[in-house]
C-alpha cells in the first residue's frame, strides 16, 4: 500500500493558484485555489471535463495567460523559486529552457512556412550559445532521438511533409530541445490516430524518464493516465477534486465525481449501484454554486456541501484504513470529513 | 417562449431584443449609439425632406439668381434666410442637401436591396442545388469580382444609355443607378449565402424537412435562409455605405443623377466647380453630409459584425 514513489525534490510547486478572466460581467474564475507539486522524473496526470481548468493551469505555470486573463492569486515555484511574478523577459528565458510545453494538435503547432530544422535550430540557439552548425547537429540528434527516420534529410522538410504522428514527434523534440526540467503536455495525443497515441505516450514517457523531467500530462483519456502517470489529479470547475497515486485513484476513487469519471461507484456507499454516468453538466464558471462545486450533480450531497467548500485533505484515518487509501491521496469532499465532525 | 421561468418569456420581440446580448453590446458602445442616432436622423430628414426643408430648391418660381452664392449665415455677407448659404443659382443649400440625401439614400437603399435579392437567390440556389448550377453561378461571380463595382456600374450605365437612346437622363437616372448598384454588389451575398447554405444543408433539420416532402424553395426560404441572415445583415449594412458612395461617385463623374435632380454626389460635383473661387460651402456641406452618413453606416456595420461575431474580437 505504501508504494507511493518518493520524489524528494519537487521540481514544480503550485500553491493556491487562482486564475481569473475579466469579462463584461465581472471576473470569471477559471482556476480557483489549485495546489500540487511534481517531483523530479514524476508524471502527474491531470484529468477532467473540458473547461475544468486543466489547460489553463498549464498556461498559468508557463506564464502564457493572455489578457483578459491573469493570475489573481497563489504562487508557482520552480525548484523552490517563485516564477509567477517574474518580469516578462526573465520568464521568456525560462520558457523552452527550463519549462517545455507540448500542444494538443501537432498539425497546427508547427509554423507551416518554416522548415522543421529551422524551427529546432531557432529554439536551440535562442537558449544557448551554440553555433549554427552545432545547433543543426543537435537538431538532427534530437530528431533521431524522437524516432524520425533519416533525420539528416528530414530536417530540411516542411511540417506539411510529415504525418500527424511524426509531427507530434517533432513537437516533442522542440519541447525537449533545451532539456527542460519540467514539461507540460497538453492533451498530446488527442488529435492523433489511436494507433499512434500509444507510441507517442511511450516516447514521451521514455524521454522524460531518462532525463528526469517532471511532467504534467493533461488529458481526458483515462487510458493514457493509467499508462503513463505516477499520480493523477482530478479537476472539476477549476478546483482539484481528488489527487493521489494513479492506481489508487483509478481503483478506489473517493470523490463522487472522480468515481463517476472512473465509471465505478464509491465502495463506501451501501446503496451500491453501477454509476454509469454523471447527471447534469459542469456548471458554467460564471455560475459555480456555493460550497462544493459538484453538489448539484452529486447523488450523495448533504446540507454542508451546499454551504461550505471542501478543501483537499487526507481522508480521516478510520476511513483511510477501511478504504485502503494510500498515503498522499487527498480528496476535497465532505463525505470524508463529516464523520470526524460527528464524532 | 415556453420557458416561463425567464422574465423575457411571453413578451414581444421588442422586449426580447432589449434583453438580448446584442442590445447590451449596443448600449455599451457609445460610438455605435451615436452612429445609429445620426443614421436615423438622416433617414428621417430624407424621408420628410419635403416637409422639413425651408425651401423647395427645385421650384424655379422660388429660386432667385439674386440670392446666388450667399455664404452661410454666420459668415460675413450671410443671409439669415439661408442657414448654410446658397449655391450658384440661389438655391438654399440646407434644402438642397435634404433633397439630395433623399435621392442618395433611396438609390443606395434600393440598389442594396436589389443586390441582396439577386445575391441571396443565386446563393441559395447555388448552395442548395450544387453541381453545374453552382459552378456556373460561382464562375460568373468570380469573373465579376475581379472588376470593381464602379467600373461595372459605369459600363452598365453606358450600355443602357446607348440602348435606350431616346430616354433622357432625368427619367432614366434612378433606375439605371439602382440596377447598376444591384448588379455590382450581388456577389458578396451570393458567396456568403452559398457557403452557409452548404453548411445548413447538411444539418438534420433540412433532411427532416426534405423527408416530410417540403418543396425545395420552401425549405430554402423558410428554413435555410433564416439561418444565414446574420452575415447577410452585416453585408447589407456595410454595402449600404458602399452603395451610397458608388451613387455619389457616379453622379460626381457625371453619369449619375443630373443637376436638375441632384443627389449628394451631384451637389458635390457642382460645388467642386466653385472651390477655387472661394465658395467653399457649396461643396463642403454636401461633402460633409455624405462623409458623416457613410461613416455612421460603416460604424454601425463594424459594430454589428463584432456584436454578431464575438469570436472575432
Amino acid at each position: 500500500m505504501t508504494e507511493t514513489p518518493s520524489f524528494p525534490e519537487p521540481v514544480i510547486s503550485v500553491r493556491n493558484l487562482v486564475v481569473e478572466f475579466a469579462t463584461r460581467r465581472g471576473p470569471l474564475r477559471a482556476i480557483d485555489g489549485v495546489s500540487f507539486t511534481i517531483g523530479k522524473g514524476e508524471v502527474l496526470g491531470v484529468v477532467g471535463e473540458s473547461g475544468a481548468g486543466k489547460s489553463v493551469t498549464g498556461s498559468a505555470i508557463i506564464g502564457l495567460i493572455d489578457a483578459p486573463g491573469r493570475i489573481a492569486g497563489g504562487e508557482v515555484l520552480l525548484h523552490g523559486k517563485r516564477i509567477d511574478n517574474l518580469p516578462a523577459e526573465e520568464m521568456r528565458r525560462l520558457r523552452g529552457r527550463k519549462i517545455g510545453m507540448i500542444f494538443q494538435d501537432p498539425l497546427t503547432s508547427l509554423d507551416p512556412l518554416f522548415r522543421v530544422g529551422d524551427q529546432l535550430i531557432e529554439t536551440i540557439r535562442t537558449h544557448s550559445d551554440l553555433s549554427a552548425s552545432a545547433a543543426r547537429e543537435r537538431a538532427i540528434a534530437l530528431l533521431a532521438e524522437v524516432g524520425i527516420p533519416a533525420p539528416e534529410r528530414r530536417i530540411d522538410g516542411y511540417p506539411h511533409e510529415f504525418s500527424g504522428g511524426m509531427r507530434q514527434r517533432v513537437v516533442i523534440a522542440l519541447a525537449l530541445a533545451c532539456e527542460p526540467d519540467f514539461v507540460i503536455a497538453d492533451e498530446p495525443t488527442t488529435a492523433l490516430d489511436v494507433s499512434v497515441q500509444a507510441q507517442i505516450i511511450a516516447l514521451l514517457k521514455r524521454l522524460c524518464a531518462t532525463r528526469g523531467t517532471a511532467v504534467m500530462l493533461v488529458t481526458h483519456d483515462m487510458g493514457v493516465i493509467a499508462e503513463a502517470a505516477d499520480r493523477v489529479a482530478v479537476m472539476y470547475a477549476g478546483r482539484i477534486a481528488e489527487i493521489g497515486p494513479v492506481r489508487d485513484v483509478v481503483k478506489h476513487p473517493l470523490h463522487p465525481y472522480a468515481a463517476g469519471l472512473m465509471g465505478a461507484i464509491p465502495t463506501l456507499s451501501s446503496e451500491a449501484d453501477r454509476l454509469t454516468q454523471i447527471p447534469g453538466a459542469m456548471p458554467r464558471l460564471t455560475n459555480v454554486p456555493p460550497g462544493c462545486a459538484f453538489n448539484p450533480r452529486c447523488a450523495r450531497a448533504f446540507d454542508r456541501c451546499c454551504i461550505e467548500r471542501p478543501e483537499p485533505a487526507l481522508p480521516s484515518a478510520a476511513l483511510a484504513a477501511r478504504e485502503h487509501v494510500a498515503s498522499g491521496h487527498r480528496v476535497a469532499c465532505h463525505l470524508y470529513t463529516a464523520r470526524e465532525d460527528a464524532r | 417562449m415556453t420557458e416561463t421561468s425567464k422574465p423575457a418569456a411571453g413578451k414581444g420581440a421588442v422586449a426580447r431584443f432589449l434583453e438580448s446580448d446584442i442590445y447590451a453590446s449596443f448600449r455599451s458602445s457609445p460610438l455605435a449609439m451615436a452612429a445609429a442616432v445620426i443614421v436615423l436622423a438622416m433617414f428621417v430628414g430624407a424621408v420628410l425632406a419635403t416637409l422639413i426643408a425651408p425651401y423647395d430648391p427645385f421650384d424655379p418660381a422660388k429660386v432667385f439668381l439674386s440670392d446666388a452664392s450667399l455664404p452661410p449665415r454666420w459668415q460675413d455677407g450671410g443671409d439669415p434666410r439661408f442657414f448654410l448659404g446658397t449655391d450658384d443659382q440661389g438655391r438654399d443649400m440646407f434644402s438642397a442637401i435634404l433633397y439630395g440625401l433623399q435621392v442618395s439614400l433611396m438609390v443606395g437603399g434600393l440598389g442594396v436591396a436589389l443586390a441582396a435579392l439577386i445575391g441571396i437567390t443565386l446563393g441559395l440556389v447555388a448552395g442548395y442545388v450544387g453541381g453545374r448550377t453552382d459552378a456556373l453561378i460561382m464562375r460568373v461571380a468570380d469573373v465579376q469580382l475581379t472588376f470593381p463595382a464602379i467600373l461595372i456600374a459605369l459600363l452598365i450605365d453606358g450600355v443602357v444609355h446607348s440602348v435606350f437612346k431616346g430616354i433622357s437622363r432625368e427619367t432614366s437616372a434612378i433606375p439605371v443607378l439602382v440596377v447598376s448598384i444591384g448588379l455590382s454588389f450581388w456577389v458578396q451575398y451570393a458567396r456568403t449565402v452559398r457557403s452557409s447554405t452548404f453548411v445548413e444543408k447538411g444539418k438534420d433539420y433540412v433532411s427532416a424537412a426534405r423527408l416530410v416532402g417540403l418543396p425545395a424553395p420552401v425549405i430554402m426560404w423558410r428554413h435555410v435562409l433564416p439561418n444565414v441572415l446574420g452575415p447577410v445583415l452585416i453585408i447589407l449594412t456595410i454595402n449600404l455605405g458602399l452603395a451610397v458612395i458608388t451613387e455619389a461617385t457616379l453622379s460626381f463623374l457625371g453619369v449619375g443623377l443630373p443637376p436638375t435632380e441632384p443627389s449628394l454626389g451631384t451637389l458635390i460635383a457642382i460645388g467642386n466647380q466653385y472651390l477655387f473661387s472661394g465658395e467653399w460651402w457649396i461643396v463642403a456641406f454636401p461633402g460633409a453630409t455624405l462623409a458623416i452618413l457613410v461613416l455612421s453606416v460603416n460604424l454601425l456595420g463594424d459594430w454589428l459584425r463584432d456584436a454578431l461575431n464575438p469570436k472575432l474580437r
Binding site: I62, L64, R92, R93, R95, G96, R97, G100, M101, F103, T108, S109, L110, D111, P112, L113, F114, E122, T123, T126, Y158, H160, E161, L174, A175 | D142, V143, T146, F147, P148, I150, L151, L154, L155, D157, G158, V159, H161, S162, I245, A248, T249, F252, L253, G254, V255, G265, I268, N272, L275, F276, W280, V283, G287, L290, A291, V294, L295, L299, D302
Partner: protein, 325 residues
C-alpha cells in the same frame, strides 16, 4: 509546377474570353458601328457597302472570332468621338495612368503594411486607435471627396502642390512619357497618388491587422512563445511571414482595381490618363473605346492574378508541393 502554370493560364484565357465576349456584344449589338460612321444623308447603298466591308454580314461567330483576333493585335477600331484609332488613343494615355497607379499602389502597400503590423502588435495603444479611426474614415470617404479635400487644403489654401495635370513630362522611347524625371511632374503626382492609394491603404492596413491578429492566435505562435523565442523572432519572423502570404493575393488584386479606380482620381485632378478617356467614352457612348478599355482591364487583371498565384506558390511551401503534383 508546369502543369499548374498551364492550368492557371487556361483558366485565365477562359476569363479573358468571357470578357472579350462581353466587349464584343457591346461593340456589335449595343452601338451599331455603321450608324456611328455614316451621316443621316448617306445613301442606303453606301451603308450596305460599309456594312459588308466591316464584315457585319458574316455569321456572328465569325465576327466574334475576328474581334478576338483583332483584340489580340490590339486593334479595336476607330473612336466615334475622336475619329482616331482606339489603340493610339489608349497608348497615349497609358503612361499617365500606369505611373499614377503604381505610385499609388506602392504608397498603399508600404504604408498599409506598416500601419497594419503596428496596430496588430500594439493594438491597445493610442496610435493604433488613431490608425483605426483613420482607416474607418479612409473607407468611408469617397475617393473623389478625398481628392477635393486634398486639393482644397494643399492647392487652394496652402498653395503647395499643383491640383491638376501631370506637370512637365519627358518622352522616353517612341511613346512612353514620364513625370518621374521632372520636379513639377513629381509634385503633380503627390496628391493624385495619395488620393488614389488612400482607400487601398486602409484596406491593406485593416487586412494586415486582422490577418496578423488571427496569426498571433494560432497554435504555432503559442508554441513559439512556449519555447521562449524572443518577441522579435515571433512577431517579425513567424507572424509577419504568415500574415503577408494572404496579403499578397489581396494586394495584387488591389493593384488591378487601383487602375480602374483611377477613373475617379483622374477626373478630380484632370489627370490625362486612360480613365478620363473611358469616362468620356461612357458619357458619349463611344463603344469602341469602352470595349477596348474593358478588354485591357480584363487583361491586366488576369495577368496580375496569374503573377500573384505564381508568387504565392513560390512563398508558401504547402502550395509549392501541390503545384509540383
Amino acid at each position: 509546377m508546369l502543369a499548374f502554370i498551364i492550368r492557371r493560364m487556361m483558366q485565365s484565357a477562359g476569363v479573358l474570353l468571357a470578357v472579350t465576349l462581353i466587349a464584343f456584344v457591346m461593340f456589335r449589338f449595343v452601338g451599331d458601328p455603321v450608324n456611328q460612321m455614316v451621316g443621316i444623308d448617306t445613301p442606303q447603298a453606301e451603308v450596305a457597302k460599309i456594312r459588308e466591308s466591316l464584315g457585319l454580314n458574316d455569321p456572328v461567330i465569325v465576327q466574334y472570332g475576328r474581334f478576338v483576333w483583332k483584340a489580340l493585335h490590339f486593334e479595336f477600331g476607330i473612336s466615334y468621338q475622336f475619329r482616331q484609332p482606339v489603340t493610339k488613343l489608349l497608348a497615349e494615355r497609358m503612361p499617365a495612368t500606369l505611373e499614377l497607379a503604381f505610385t499609388a499602389a506602392g504608397f498603399a502597400l508600404v504604408v498599409g503594411i506598416l500601419m497594419g503590423v503596428y496596430s496588430a502588435l500594439r493594438r491597445d495603444s493610442v496610435v493604433a486607435k488613431v490608425f483605426e479611426a483613420v482607416s474607418l474614415v479612409g473607407v468611408s470617404l469617397p475617393t473623389f471627396l478625398i481628392g477635393i479635400l486634398l486639393i482644397y487644403l494643399f492647392a487652394v489654401i496652402l498653395g503647395w502642390l499643383p491640383s491638376n495635370g501631370r506637370g512637365q513630362v519627358v518622352r522616353i522611347g517612341s511613346w512612353w512619357t514620364t513625370g518621374f524625371l521632372t520636379s513639377s511632374g513629381l509634385r503633380s503626382l503627390i496628391l493624385p497618388a495619395i488620393t488614389l492609394g488612400l482607400f487601398q491603404m486602409t484596406l491593406i492596413m485593416r487586412l494586415v491587422r486582422a490577418e496578423m491578429l488571427e496569426v498571433l492566435r494560432t497554435d504555432y505562435i503559442k508554441f513559439a512563445r512556449a519555447r521562449g523565442l524572443t518577441a522579435r523572432a515571433i512577431n517579425f519572423g513567424h507572424a509577419l511571414k504568415n500574415t503577408l502570404i494572404p496579403v499578397i493575393t489581396i494586394a495584387g488584386l488591389q493593384l488591378g482595381s487601383i487602375i480602374a479606380f483611377a477613373i475617379i482620381t483622374e477626373t478630380v485632378f484632370n489627370w490625362p490618363g486612360m480613365g478620363i478617356l473611358f469616362l468620356q467614352a461612357v458619357q458619349n457612348v463611344d463603344i469602341p473605346i469602352m470595349a477596348a478599355y474593358l478588354v485591357m482591364i480584363g487583361l491586366i487583371f488576369v495577368v496580375i492574378n496569374l503573377v500573384v498565384d505564381l508568387l504565392y506558390g513560390l512563398v508558401d511551401p504547402r502550395l509549392r508541393m501541390t503545384m509540383r503534383r
